[in-house]
């Protein structure tokens, strides 16, 4: 065992300790009053009382940060499981991925010597400054919530600047051009070939603007020296190849190629902190349900599998997963603030792949989806309530794919 640093609450500055106590009280109050899961309010209170709370709460711990457009919650869970080999791990399960969520999670486990934090891309620089991570995991970067998060190139530049100050290990996906550009100037980078990446936002080099050219899995800029680095870890179909050429079967319970990519990223990050590869993989194999995602619910003679997809890259991957069988599909779309109000991205999703399948358009913005499906020549009906949409399908398996708030609400109702 490595020496286990601790964030002993007795050693926290007085102001932070008081802020954490009051924050924890607010979380419990919020849960008791049924106002929410208490994932953010406690941290919000603590941060208001002590703006340095995040720095103080991470001080003395080994911290891993996970960011990117897709797969953050799953990878964070995988990495926290893998790191449990080393000792107790504090983590923000459930996607509360801004500083208030981090403070809440860390306050609940003040003695855990390790922390794995999922970080919203927009807050990454701030969290890096506060947390001085031992490992930073950079999964992928693509368009998501353009009206809220901003454009991909802006995010790439801010991550690039933040990562140059990281003295720990940066674990980065070298099949993603934006990620490669963001990570390349860091002191110590471990490159992972994930075989996944959304290339539609990266036709031109994020460094110089010239066209990027692909040759098989390799890519390079035609104007400057940005090119795919030689990977240290490689994701194969159902297995990984470690830097020492060791091949390890993944045998995940989670479906899809992108979860294999998440698993290899998590394993590489855990290995950077000293977890043996087999121990890491064995622990993340057991993950079968991430904050309700991928779980199957029984309802009115249906076995409905709940899948979350938030943006074109995520939907594209999920449509590949559901392609494995020809089950009817309920697609649920909302456009609340947390989803992004602009639904233009629906046109970047290859819904054409659902032709010939039984499809129901659902959610608060079912009509926007219905128009998209009409032009994709996918026959469908509209049932705005997703539970009623499941009921309307013939008995048996149903795939339910929902975006962020649609999934959150459906998951909560299905749990009742």
């Amino acid at each position: 065992m490595p020496n286990t640093p601790g964030a002993d609450p007795a050693r926290l500055p007085l102001r932070t300790a008081a802020a954490v106590r009051l924050g924890n009280m607010s979380s419990k109050l919020s849960q008791k009053m049924g106002l929410g899961a208490g994932g953010m309010i406690g941290g919000r209170v603590a941060l208001r009382l002590d703006p340095q709370a995040l720095a103080h709460l991470t001080s003395g711990r080994q911290v891993a940060l996970v960011t990117g457009t897709n797969g953050k919650t799953t990878s964070t869970m995988m990495l926290s499981r893998a790191m449990s080999f080393l000792g107790e791990v504090a983590t923000n399960h459930g996607g509360a991925n801004m500083p208030d969520g981090h403070v809440t999670a860390l306050s609940k486990q003040p003695d855990a010597p390790y922390a794995v934090l999922e970080v919203d891309e927009g807050y990454f620089p701030e969290v890096v400054r506060a947390a001085s991570p031992a490992v930073a995991v950079l999964l992928n970067l693509s368009r998501d919530q353009l009206d809220r998060v901003g454009e991909v190139r802006t995010i790439e530049k801010s991550l690039r600047t933040a990562l140059t100050s990281v003295t720990g290990v940066v674990v980065a996906n070298c099949d993603d051009i934006m990620v490669t550009s963001a990570a390349r100037d860091s002191a110590k980078v471990v490159w992972v070939a994930t075989g996944t990446g959304w290339h539609n936002d990266a036709a031109s080099c994020p460094r110089c603007g010239d066209p990027i050219r692909w040759e098989g899995e390799h890519w390079h800029c035609t104007g400057c020296d940005l090119a795919r680095p030689r990977p240290d870890w490689v994701t194969g179909d159902g297995y990984l190849v470690a830097p020492n050429s060791q091949k390890v079967e993944l045998s995940l319970r989670l479906p899809g190629k992108f979860n294999q990519a998440n698993a290899v990223m998590a394993t590489a990050a855990a290995a950077a902190l000293g977890v043996p590869i087999e121990e890491a993989v064995q622990r993340l194999r057991a993950v079968s349900n991430v904050a309700g995602r991928y779980r199957t619910i029984q309802r009115s003679g249906h076995r409905a599998r709940l899948l979350l997809s938030k943006n074109p890259a995520g939907w594209s991957e999920t449509l590949t997963v559901v392609r494995e069988a020809d089950h009817p599909a309920v697609l649920v779309i909302n456009a609340q603030e947390a989803d992004g109000r602009d639904l233009s991205w629906l046109w970047d999703v290859p819904f054409e792949r659902l032709r010939g399948r039984q499809v129901i358009a659902s959610g608060e913005r079912a009509t926007d989806l219905a128009v998209r499906l009409t032009y994709a020549e996918v026959e469908h009906t509209i049932v705005p309530d997703p539970l009623l949409a499941i009921d309307a399908m013939p008995p048996g398996p149903v795939e339910v794919i929902a975006n962020y708030t649609a999934f959150r609400d459906l998951n909560a109702r299905a749990a009742q």
Partner: protein, 238 residues
């Protein structure tokens, strides 16, 4: 027409496709093929020459850097401008309206020359205009309301040779008063959504310009329902 199919050029989707503007090309293609007018989409990617032989050119929105690269590419490969000179139909969305003008000035106050296809100049506004837009036709150009989603910092001033596409009721458009630009067979708008799925009357206007024939009516219930919903959510009955 250069072939027996109406060719819809999707111009630099890898640079100017940030806001689902690919949907505009799909809508044009489907609305023609469903009526028995053969049509196809031609993707023109960054790094490739731009043909001058297409019938309709569709240009979408993009980030600042992408916009600068797109102008450079379209200047080096002026196929679309040559097509415009012979009367090809062009739809420019968001970045499209800015780069088609005489010039556009960014937030950093640097002025870039545009492609000079329409009589307009654009500059960065104080705040970013984000949200639903509802506008009414200017000069009876089309029927019904114009609906879409805007997300831009640019403001556009039209010169005497260009006329506005619509008058803004909800949202910002070019300047808080008018929206878009029309000059010859070039039609520009700030609206995403994308714009043509939400506004089939604009799609059919472009088809009429390209084929010389007013297309037959095409009733899509989902589209009608969407237009009603969006107008209602913006507080304007359709």
């Amino acid at each position: 027409m250069s072939t027996n199919k109406v060719q819809i050029a999707l111009v630099l989707p890898d640079l100017l496709g940030t806001y689902g503007d690919f949907g505009n090309a799909v809508v044009l293609e489907k609305r023609m093929t469903w009526r028995g007018i053969p049509a196809e989409i031609v993707n023109i990617r960054f790094g490739e020459p731009v043909p001058n032989s297409c019938d309709i050119y569709v240009v979408g929105g993009g980030e600042d850097t992408a916009q600068t690269l797109a102008v450079r590419h379209l200047r080096d490969h002026p196929g679309m401008q040559h097509a415009a000179a012979r009367g090809a139909v062009i739809l420019g969305v968001c970045a499209g309206i800015q780069i088609f003008g005489e010039s556009f000035t960014r937030a950093d106050q640097v002025t870039h020359p545009g492609l000079g296809l329409i009589d307009s100049t654009s500059h960065a506004g104080g705040s970013r205009a984000i949200g639903e837009v509802i506008a009414t036709a200017a000069g009876g150009l089309f029927e019904g309301l114009l609906t879409g989603f805007e997300n831009h910092q640019g403001r556009t001033v039209l010169g005497p040779s260009a006329r506005p596409l619509a008058h803004v009721k909800v949202g910002t458009g070019n300047d808080g008063s008018v929206e878009g630009a029309v000059q010859g067979r070039i039609l520009c708008t700030y609206l995403h959504g994308p714009v043509l799925p939400r506004n089939p009357q604009i799609a059919d206007l472009l088809i009429e310009w390209a084929t010389g024939t007013k297309p037959a009516p095409l009733d899509l219930p989902a589209v009608t329902r969407l237009r009603t919903e969006r107008a209602k959510s913006a507080g304007v009955p359709l």
